[in-house]
């Protein structure tokens, strides 16, 4: 059995309730952090753990916290990214449903570390029932003195508010999330300035993904060395991989960072459904470039997938079998990004909408010579030319599909 950090207790009845959580070492990490450690020590430990962000970009969490200026007179904010909109991604839903107090512990410890007294959890609007569960968990934590004023006599105050989104993928992008939290359209901001210096309400802000923060309590209790040993030296811990699509056992699998993708699909998720042949895998949510069947003998970690011209993203693995039409996949991808582009940057707004028009025409059987080249040209023109990563997120899977499955796409035209 592989060691689990986040999902070990998922199957315990009512684990989401504070009294059950407390029976399983609950809030010990908060106790240790606030009464035995100081913020400097916590930051050092978080950095040493090489905990890479689990939302998609893979930026080390400790380094991110270190960017927040410590001497200003403005308040500082924590924003928890629970927007979980990257197609294929299901992990944060599990963490928040089954282990909400672990997330709260992570928020308390990281806020203490950075000197933050106000945190917002930005949760996607569709997760209304989970938002209610989190609110109950927050109320319970308040009652027991884990939140509020002078937590555990440490002199540290923290308040957490749940803020529900309203159905916009772009709000998972950190600066769009901030705009949305301020009551505006989710239009991403120009960076720099980065949120660590000018973020929510123009104040220094830390934005971390749910799964990232949920790892913090164990790092505090067991140490950075243990965490790195669990995963890879420069990419520590486990990840909750979400496997979906044409496998026998779709679901979540918490495994060490660096688990082989082939094992994830064939050993853990039971292999292909109905004995079909594997065609391709989208390894890290829909924005990640596609891998062909002969490219999946690869370890799942940020650096390795980057070297393979893909990315680990949110760890959401979508499995395609031999019967899947790559044109259908491309149609869905282009429909999604053209719908979700916020419209602010011309290359993304116009590019995605034209690519969608061309792909839709091809799927009607009206493809023309040069269509594939035009798709590639339009997608290339989005890369690096937009305020936020959505332009790249759309272009990368499209370009990888055109490169790796060009022959199949061409047959749809002829």
């Amino acid at each position: 059995m592989k060691e689990k950090v986040l999902s070990e207790h998922f199957s315990i009845d009512n684990f989401f309730k504070l009294d059950v959580y407390l029976k399983h070492n609950g809030y010990q990490a908060v106790k240790k952090a606030l009464t035995e450690l100081n913020p400097e020590k916590i930051l050092k430990e978080a950095k040493a753990a090489n905990l890479r962000g689990r939302g998609g970009a893979g930026f080390p969490a400790g380094v991110k916290w270190g960017f927040v200026p410590q001497n200003g007179d403005k308040p500082k904010y924590m924003c928890v990214n629970a927007d979980e909109g990257e197609p294929g991604t299901i992990k944060d839903r599990y963490i928040m449903t089954h282990n909400p107090h672990l997330l709260l512990e992570g928020i308390i410890i990281s806020s203490y570390c950075v000197g933050i007294n106000t945190a917002y959890i930005y949760i996607r609007g569709e997760y209304e029932n989970i938002a209610l569960r989190l609110e109950t968990a927050i109320d319970e934590a308040f009652q027991k003195g884990f939140l509020g004023k002078d937590i555990l006599g440490s002199g540290f105050d923290l308040d957490i508010t749940i803020h529900r989104g309203a159905g916009a993928y772009i709000c998972g992008e950190e600066t769009a999330l901030l705009e949305s939290l301020e009551g505006k359209r989710g239009n991403p901001r120009l960076k720099p300035p980065f949120p660590a210096s000018i973020g929510l309400f123009q104040c220094p802000t830390v934005i971390n993904n749910v799964e990232t923060l949920a790892n913090i309590p164990s790092i505090i209790l067991k140490g950075a060395e243990w965490f790195c040993a669990l995963g890879l030296p420069n990419d520590g811990g486990t990840r909750i991989f979400g496997v979906s699509g044409m496998v026998k056992n779709p679901g979540i699998y918490e495994l060490p960072v660096g688990t082989n993708l082939k094992d994830l699909i064939f050993k853990y998720a039971g292999g292909m459904k109905e004995g079909k042949k594997l065609k391709a895998v989208i390894p890290g949510g829909m924005s990640s470039p596609i891998l062909k069947a002969d490219e999946i003998d690869i370890t799942m970690d940020s650096d390795t997938l980057m070297k393979a011209d893909s990315m680990i993203g949110s760890g959401a693995v979508i499995v395609l079998d031999e019967d899947t039409s790559i044109l259908d996949v491309l149609t869905i991808i282009t429909k999604f990004y053209s719908h979700e582009s916020c419209g602010q940057c011309t290359p993304c707004r116009i590019g995605n909408s034209w690519i969608k028009k061309i792909v839709t025409r091809i799927s009607r059987g009206e493809g023309k010579d040069g269509d594939i080249d035009n798709i590639a040209r339009l997608a290339s023109n989005m890369v690096g030319k937009t305020l936020c990563p959505l332009g790249d997120a759309a272009a990368m899977p499209i370009l990888s599909i055109v490169k790796k499955f060009r022959d199949e796409l061409e047959t749809s035209i002829k």
Binding site: E126, G183, F336
Partner: protein
Amino acid sequence: MSLEFSDKTKKTIDKIIARYPQKEAALLPVLHVIQKEFGQISEEEEILAASLLGISQVKVREVVSFYTMFNRKAVGKYHIQVCSNLTCTLMGAANILNFIEEKLGIKPGETTSDKRFTLSTVECLGACEQAPSMMVNFDYHGHLDKEKINEILDNLE
């Protein structure tokens, strides 16, 4: 005639606004409450939200028109939202949608004449391991097939 809240809702809204250092930041949560109370965010509700937060109506419209979950027209008692994204489509979402269309006699974007059901397609709901999936109001349903859809829809109040 202007819209009136119940006292309970008024208290909820005051509590929400108090959570933010700037009133305007409460716009999304306040709109969720308004939509729950009145079923939609039409012009009247926009004016209400604007007056509660001390902002102009056009600011509210900007936001309402950006986010797909705010309904500018009332939806039926049950809003069925079928995922049409990648994993769900691989697992047969198109058949699920066709079946619901035939069962209810409406297309996506339409409401049954008795105002009981509205049907929509949506992007990824974050329930890919149970694809094909859908939401009925805020309840998630996965591993859908015809039988299961009949069971879910026929057992609604």
